[in-house]
Amino acid sequence: MSGVEKFLFTERPLEHMLVVSSILFCCGLLTIITRRNAVSILMGVELVLNAANLNFVAFSQFGGRGPDGPTVVLFVIILAAAEAAVALAIIIGIYQNFGRVDVDAATLMKE
């Protein structure tokens, strides 16, 4: 039981955190790429930002560079909020004009 004990009783190394954030990042990418709904795409974007935040915080815990990590995360969250507000306003606008929020159908600007 020494390996498992070791595993369970030591503090987690940085890699594990980063792996988790990588997985979250890839899930976010997948959402962005494959979904047709504009709101779903927005949700994917949020996932990606969250993964980045996790990275920042993880590194700040292990890097010892002061409160830079969390500060940046703060800014990211603020910006994410602003961006989500605007994006959703646009989506609502599109829905009101076209009746649907299918991104594949929104080809009016293509020509």
Binding site: P13, M17, S22, C27, E46, T71, A80, I91
Partner: protein
Amino acid sequence: METSKLLVNVIFYAVAAFAVVSAFGVALSKNIVRSAFALLAVLFSAAALYALMKADFIFAIQILVYVGGILVLIIFAIMLTQRIVDVNLSNPSVPTAPAVAVVICVLLILVGVLLANSGELPKATAPQAVADKPMTSVVGEMLMRDYLYPFEIVSVLLLACLIGAAFLARKEVKEG
């Protein structure tokens, strides 16, 4: 104490697993409401992870802003754009299988790079903030000192977004 360490690890892995599963739920769910709630779960898990990483200020902000603000907005938007319930996952723009394949490749790359350079990653140290002061005050001070310029710009940006969003979302009375 080993017991506390054990507890911390167990909680860490449990929360991490929950986050990963929820993320998969966001990506793959056919029902958009279900994916919204999966996102909720992810955000909560992220907050928990922040707490476990001794970033208590961020934990609070995450809950307050992300979950309470952004996610609520998203759910509102979903409710308002109702006719999207019958949208299915596959779409002609990007076929599913190649997308999944590519994303898995990206994941593998990231993890591979990470593991390959694991020797050069910094080791754990105790963050200063916990030792001396609460993180909130430290971040506050940083905002007023090192990050003053971004802080001001962000406030302007927030103002612009506010006005813009309000303008964009108003009902067009004249056109019909």
